[in-house]
């Protein structure tokens, strides 16, 4: 049946607001506080459901509206129970020290400006995002999409988010705005490398990712002089 994490640590890159790295680009599975979802009308925590590939209109700026699910406190489920039930939610154990769940029946489109003005309290790992997608697809269609295939389809976007986070972290430490840093990163990742392939395309190939990371790190060192 549906998959589940072997431990809570498999789910989160950050599970407390203090752990969230501000330079990380907004991505599927991020949880924000104080968000009002139209139609749900409760100012609450909310989790982004929009697919990682559809979140930005130009690679940098978010689309106008993001699909989000309300996040509320929920019973702490044994992890294996995720496989056989609770299909209307994405459980979020150990979130901010409590037990929460994103509710697939309480979703709506939220202005991305509202999201950007809200505080991010958690980020999921790629595996956490794959589990979220698997559960949401199951909820909508009763189709079981294996997480390893979901990962294969989104791995390059996850990788790009990691690289962008690192780029923004390094360059803003040297001065400059996060938005400018993101713009610079996207210009760099979309240009061709020494082999004539767009770096962004190379990220789809697991054999090339380490090389792109090395190249980016060298580039950032050169920039910083």
């Amino acid at each position: 049946m549906l998959e589940y994490p072997s431990s809570v640590e498999d789910l989160y890159l950050a599970s407390f607001r203090e752990e969230v790295e501000p330079s990380r680009p907004v991505l599927t599975g991020d949880v924000f506080e104080g968000v009002t979802i139209p139609g749900v009308d409760e100012r609450d925590y909310a989790l982004i459901l929009t697919h990682p590939c559809s979140m930005r209109k130009d690679g940098v700026n978010l689309v106008d509206r993001l699909l989000m699910a309300r996040v509320t406190e929920a019973p702490d489920l044994p992890l294996p129970d995720w496989a056989t039930g609770h299909f209307k939610v994405m459980p979020l154990p150990a979130l901010m020290g409590g037990s929460y769940a994103a509710r697939f029946a309480e979703i709506g489109l939220v202005q991305s400006s509202q999201v950007q003005d809200s505080r991010r309290v958690a980020c999921l790992t790629p595996f956490g995002i794959n589990l979220l997608q698997q559960r949401f697809i199951w909820h909508l269609t009763r189709f079981l999409a294996p997480t390893h295939r979901l990962n294969e389809a989104s791995a390059s976007v996850f990788e790009e988010a990691d690289l962008c986070e690192e780029w923004v972290m390094v360059t803003t430490e040297q001065g400059g705005t996060a938005h400018q840093a993101e713009t610079d990163f996207h210009e760099w990742i979309r240009t061709e490398d020494e082999s004539g392939t767009r770096r962004q395309s190379d990220l789809a190939d697991p054999q090339r990712r380490a090389g792109i990371r090395r190249e980016m790190r060298r580039h950032l060192q050169t920039r910083s002089g």
């Binding site: 640590e9 989160y12 890159l13 950050a14 752990e19 790295e21 590939c53 790992t125 790629p126 999409a145 294996p146 390893h148 295939r149 979901l150 990962n151 294969e152 389809a153 989104s154 990788e159 990691d162 690192e166 789809a204 697991p206 054999q207 090339r208 990712r209 380490a210 090389g211 990371r213 090395r214 790190r217």
Partner: protein, 225 residues
């Protein structure tokens, strides 16, 4: 007429009619028997040689694995004396992502971020980082793997998404070392030992394809739908 058989009348000496025939009457019986016996002997001898050879190969294999393990331990101990930040930078320069480094160390990404900023790690975590550093050094030097980070990130079997990083994360340095070896190890045997149920776990009729918009998507494999 009764034929009498007088053994005394038979001599070893040739008679006129037996000249030239003696060998052809006795020899075929003896030759075939000899041949059968000889081949049987050879077969047994070969079996013993093969068994001996297998024993020697197995012993050499075990000895090699033990010596590699010993080398890993001593190299790990050497690296464990280095500053943590230095080891982390070494892995970063090799092309590992911070997310993977955190996974290899068994900690969260924010924890690794704190280490990079100078916070100390527990002895166990420092040892884990030193062990990964040592592993990369050994397979680079012993097996001439030029880009260890890329090699570890790439699935080693076409039908499962399992990578060398997964082996290391689960403390199967022995399997990763065998995989790196140049003695033609079958990746499937490594998978069998790592995840005996890998066939059932990763069996799926869902495949990733490139959709008309150029983005990856999932669909049922042709013939399975």
């Amino acid at each position: 007429m009764k034929l009498a058989f007088d053994s005394e009348s038979i001599t070893d000496e040739s008679t006129g009619t037996s000249i030239g025939l003696r060998d052809t009457t006795e020899a075929p019986t003896r030759t075939i028997a000899d041949l059968v016996q000889h081949v049987g002997f050879l077969k047994n001898r070969t079996r013993v040689l093969v068994a001996d050879s297998n024993d020697v190969h197995h012993s050499a294999d075990e000895l090699h694995a033990e010596s590699l393990d010993q080398l890993l331990r001593t190299t790990t101990a050497q690296h464990a004396r280095e500053p943590l930040a230095e080891m982390l930078e070494g892995l970063s320069d090799s092309g590992f992502s911070w997310r993977e480094i955190a996974r290899l160390a068994g900690v969260s990404v924010p924890a690794v971020r704190k280490w990079r900023q100078g916070e100390s790690a527990s002895g166990e975590n420092r040892h884990r980082i030193a062990r990964v550093t040592a592993f990369c050094e050994i397979v680079g030097e012993q097996y001439l793997i030029d880009d260890v980070a890329s090699w570890l990130e790439t699935p080693f079997h076409t039908e499962a998404p399992v990578t060398g990083l997964d082996l290391l994360t689960n403390d199967r340095f022995d399997l990763a070392m065998r995989l790196a070896g140049d003695d033609g190890v079958d990746p499937e045997s490594i998978l069998e030992q790592f995840e005996p149920d890998w066939r059932e776990r990763y069996a799926t009729s869902v495949e990733v394809f490139v959709a008309p918009d150029g983005q990856p998507g999932l669909r049922l494999r042709e013939g399975d739908s």
